[in-house]
């Protein structure tokens, strides 16, 4: 399992294609915070996001922040939420907006594997709950849009050494989550036979 450093947003698709399920990744550059209500607004209410998402790294988050002034916030505690709730937006994010990476915790169900392969996207697994660490890796909140959805706004963070992340689903049709589930289901059959 290889180790990589990737800077977002990416322009070269090879940066995504080199990543394989199980690899360890550290991220630099800019990442965008997004959550349930943000994506419901984009896809179900058809409102265009006021931020460029091409080549972007999206983080499933609703940060804890302190307001400094109009449109200005400082971090208090920023962590990551469960991704599975938001899996149905994957294809649209890749196809319409050119998103290249989605990062969250707990994984995406198998329906994400095909669009991620077709569109050259990856899913990064972060350690859920490790928000104290994550907060130290976010250098600054540079931009926020849709403040009325607080805390489920669209956030732009500048990060340094963000990770370690694990490639959970790669752009080649591999998913650690599918593998783990398949093995666990088989194991359950053994266990049930013993009960």
């Amino acid at each position: 399992m290889a180790q990589h450093e990737v800077t977002f947003p990416v322009t070269d698709p090879a940066e995504i294609l080199k990543l394989r399920a199980g690899d360890e990744v550290v991220v630099q550059g800019h990442i965008i915070g997004i959550r349930d209500r943000t994506q419901i607004r984009i896809f179900d209410q058809g409102i265009e996001p006021p931020m460029d998402l091409s080549g972007a790294f999206l983080l499933h988050t609703a940060p804890g922040v302190r307001k400094l002034g109009p449109g200005r916030y400082e971090k208090v505690c920023i962590g990551t939420t469960t991704s599975a709730r938001m899996v149905r937006f994957t294809e649209g994010l890749g196809e319409r907006y050119g998103v290249r990476a989605i990062c969250g915790k707990g994984g995406f169900p198998d329906e994400a594997i095909e669009p991620m392969q077709r569109l050259g996207m990856v899913y990064f697994a972060i350690v859920g709950g490790a928000a104290a660490l994550e907060t130290t890796q976010i250098e600054e909140i540079e931009e926020v849009a849709w403040e009325e959805l607080m805390p489920e706004c669209l956030w732009k963070f500048r990060v340094k050494d963000f990770g370690p992340l694990t490639v959970g689903i790669d752009a080649h049709g591999n998913s650690l989550y599918r593998d783990v589930q398949e093995r666990a289901r088989k194991k359950l059959e053994d266990i049930y036979a013993r009960l």
Binding site: V76, T82, K105, G128, G129, A130, A131, T136, M150
Partner: protein, 298 residues
């Protein structure tokens, strides 16, 4: 209100405000020990990476005095009220609510509480019937014990109930717990505490499952038959290989806790309530004169 009662109200409010923030920042020692042991015995590369990151995160939360996890949860309190405690539970509730609100504003903490239909935020982690408070009443005693368990949504979303039938037996209980935890995968932030409630009624089984996750890690049910089931399920759950954060590995759960109640001859309810690795809880004892004693291990 008499002066004594006002002071007691204030003491309960102060305790709630302190407990909520303390629970979010400083996880109990039994949990720290269980996470360290998990890190040491995990053999998969990804699982080890996850558990090392968790350890690092807990240390950073200590050093920076930050929250362990950003999900400040829904505030749940367990109260044990002595019959001689001079403040009525109606006033205790008001004080717990005021303390929750104050902690949220002062820290500040992220506010998670929304109206369940409109999804509009209802304010400072309080709302209609929130915080949630469970009551126990103790005869021949004049104290109050308060335990704060801020429960995150990632793990609370992984709650499951099955009304097994008597013919499903204990085997049915075991299968449902195993099925639930494998199905939950990485979503509830494993490795955590699996709380199981058996018996009673549908609602009471889930209540018991929740009570089970609020116990210190690794404590055993006093009924030896139930304790044996806890041990067996713990072993079986770790055989599934779900692993830390569902990425595969040896450690899927830190502990399995079961609470039980007698039930109807026709019922066999099983409830599962998951608690994430950041199993936050903090307790205080308040005397009838308003002295507060904080306790980390309860």
């Amino acid at each position: 209100m008499s002066a004594v009662v006002t002071d007691l109200s204030q003491a309960v409010e102060d305790a709630a405000a302190h407990l909520y923030v303390w629970a979010l920042k400083d996880i109990p020692q039994d949990l720290r020990d269980a996470l360290a042991a998990a890190r040491d015995r995990e053999t998969s590369t990804t699982g080890k990476r996850v558990l090392e990151t968790i350890t690092r995160n807990v240390e950073i939360a200590d050093d920076e005095r930050n929250l362990v996890c950003q999900d400040t949860g829904i505030a749940v309190y367990y109260c044990r009220v002595g019959e001689g405690f001079p403040l009525h539970p109606a006033r205790i509730y008001d004080a717990l609510r005021a303390g929750t609100e104050r902690a949220t504003v002062e820290h500040p903490l992220r506010s998670n509480t929304v109206h369940t239909l409109t999804r509009e935020n209802t304010g400072q982690n309080v709302g209609f019937r929130v915080p949630i408070v469970h009551w126990d009443f103790v005869p021949d005693w004049d104290g109050l014990d308060v335990k704060c368990v801020p429960k995150g949504s990632g793990s609370e979303n992984m709650s499951f109930l099955k009304m097994c039938v008597p013919a499903d037996g204990v085997r049915g209980i075991k299968q449902f717990v195993l099925e639930s935890i494998v199905g939950a995968g990485g979503k509830p932030c494993p490795p955590g505490i699996v709380g199981v409630g058996i018996g009673g009624s549908a609602d009471y089984a889930m209540h018991l499952a929740k009570e089970a996750i609020a116990r210190p890690v690794g404590t055993r049910n006093p009924d030896p038959e139930v304790a044996q089931l806890e041990d067996e399920l713990y072993e079986l759950l770790n055989e599934t290989g779900v692993g830390p954060m569902g990425l595969g590995g040896d450690v899927t759960v830190l502990s399995c806790h079961i609470e039980h109640a007698d039930t109807h001859m026709t019922l066999n309810p099983v409830a599962v309530n998951y608690q994430c690795w950041a199993a936050r809880r903090a307790s205080a004892h308040i005397s009838s004169s308003g002295d507060i004693e904080y306790e980390r291990d309860a």
